[in-house]
């Protein structure tokens, strides 16, 4: 019940600060519309028929990162206007406070991902795996956003101010994005680069989403692996966020 109360309040915050939606979707949208159009022709040479469909999974992860990152900013703003303290001394479980914020970031991610999918329809992107595939996509996006928002929540409570937080987020996101299969197929990679890309959990998330969107075949083993990996990551990030929140009151 408290989770829904906090979720409603956080949604109101998001729509009050609607620029956080615009800013976090702007860059992925530019990648989707401009980059995919420009690079698409070159990529046909290496066997990628629809490059927009190919990079859409990577951009889903990118947009999720942006939405969840802005959710961490909420902590700084709530600390500044003191409502953070008011909620902490209310009879609300710490886990509900964390969950209320994480779920808002997840919903924001879904809103932005939905916009990305609608726009990509104009670039002939279709979900090849049908309704079952769509269900798996929803589940994977949910878990990815859940993990990331837990992570950004915890990081926002570790770092002293929003400037350092934003800098840290921007420093992390691009290496993670480029060291994945977001923009290119990973099967031609070798050596240390291949290891780094394979160690990146988002590589597997992106590959799974790509299988569902482009290839149309649902490989149960791959999907299960990604869901298990994400479930584990979600647990770790949620527990860390919860722990950080508890630490706020043990100075």
């Amino acid at each position: 019940m408290s989770v829904l109360t906090l979720l409603y309040r956080n949604i109101k915050w998001r729509f009050h600060n609607v620029f956080t939606i615009v800013i976090t979707i702007l860059q992925p949208m530019l990648w989707l519309v401009l980059y995919s159009a420009v690079a698409g022709q070159s990529m046909q040479g290496i066997g990628i028929e629809n490059y927009t469909a190919f990079i859409l999974p990577g951009l889903v992860v990118l947009v999720s990162f942006g939405a969840c990152s802005s959710s961490g900013i909420m902590n700084y703003l709530m600390k500044a206007d003191n409502s953070f303290y008011r909620v902490l001394i209310a009879p609300v479980k710490r886990s509900s406070i964390v969950l209320g914020q994480i779920l808002e970031a997840v919903l924001c991610t879904f809103l932005e991902v939905a916009i990305m999918f609608i726009v990509s329809l104009f670039f002939s992107v279709r979900i090849a795996s049908g309704y079952l595939g769509l269900l798996f996509i929803v589940l994977i996006v949910f878990m990815t956003a859940f993990f990331m928002s837990g992570l950004t929540y915890a990081i926002s409570l570790c770092l002293p101010n929003e400037v350092i937080y934003e800098t840290a987020m921007n420093t992390v996101v691009l290496p993670v994005f480029f060291l994945s299969t977001a923009l290119f197929p990973g099967d031609k990679l070798s050596g240390g680069l291949a290891i780094a890309v394979n160690l990146n959990p988002f590589t597997h998330v992106i590959n799974a989403l790509r299988e569902l969107i482009v290839q149309g075949n649902i490989v149960t083993k791959n999907i299960l692996f990604v869901l298990t990996l994400l479930a584990l990551m979600c647990c770790i990030s949620f527990l860390w966020a919860n722990r950080r929140l508890r630490k706020e009151t043990s100075l």
Partner: protein, 316 residues
Amino acid sequence: MSAIQAENVIKKYKNGVQALDGLSLTVKDGEIFSLLGQNGAGKSTLIHILTTYLAPTSGLVTMFGKDIYREASEIRTQISCVAQRTSIDTHLSLTENMMFQSKLYKVPKDEAKTRMEILIACFGLERYLKYPVSSYSGGVKRRLDIALNMMSNPKILFLDEPTVGMDIQSRMAMWDMMKKIRTDFGTTIFLTTHYLEEADQLSDTICIMKNGKEIIQGTPLALREYLRKDILRISFSSKEEVKNCFQPLKSILALEESDLRQDKIITGLKNGHIDLEKASRWLLDHEVPFLGIEIVQPTLEDIFLRLTDDSGKGAC
């Protein structure tokens, strides 16, 4: 049963700062309790502990007989805190803020609506309903902050310097509001303030703390009687005049540095009217253009300055 009982509370932060050093106090149910102390005395830390935000390093704090550390979740349903800075959500409307607070405290919806209407009327917020919260003045925001913290019908309301920065009219309106909260809602009020007049006007009990420890607790009247002796007050026309006369008068009246207050010398009478005569004679003999010399009862300010004086004789 006391509303709050704190015994030998110590709080040492992880960075090594010791904010509370064996503080003990008692707050009676239904009273207005004021906590006075200089900056850094440990008032905010104490409020943070009492509102379950921080855990004490050691010591025992109970509220209505319950240990606030072990039974924090139960205690939280019975308290509310208006912090130094207003804590309203500017992205929510006035009514949304109040309903959000009631939901946090799991107040049934119908009860919350009725209570909201009462509080809006009680705190004079009707005319602000149609405006966004972000456009409110500081005083109105503060009123809303208190009103929404009353939504959960707390047994104890903590007010951390609620009138800081307010003009005198707003401050007096706030005093009326606090009295109303106590009488109409039966809420115990725990107040921290820098304004001695405020504590004097409102409080049933005053506690003065220094260096993380209480130094005296009692009714305003009892605190005045604590010093018992009358005070000699000499008023001068300027600060320079006071400084010029201080050293000579020091030898006559056995003054201390803390007796020098702006354009006045205020000191406890050591030898009754003899001190008054001696001082008057010296001032007249030296043709000092002083404004007045009188024997007065000590004010709360005198007591506060005497007790929090760092010259060593502070705690009487």
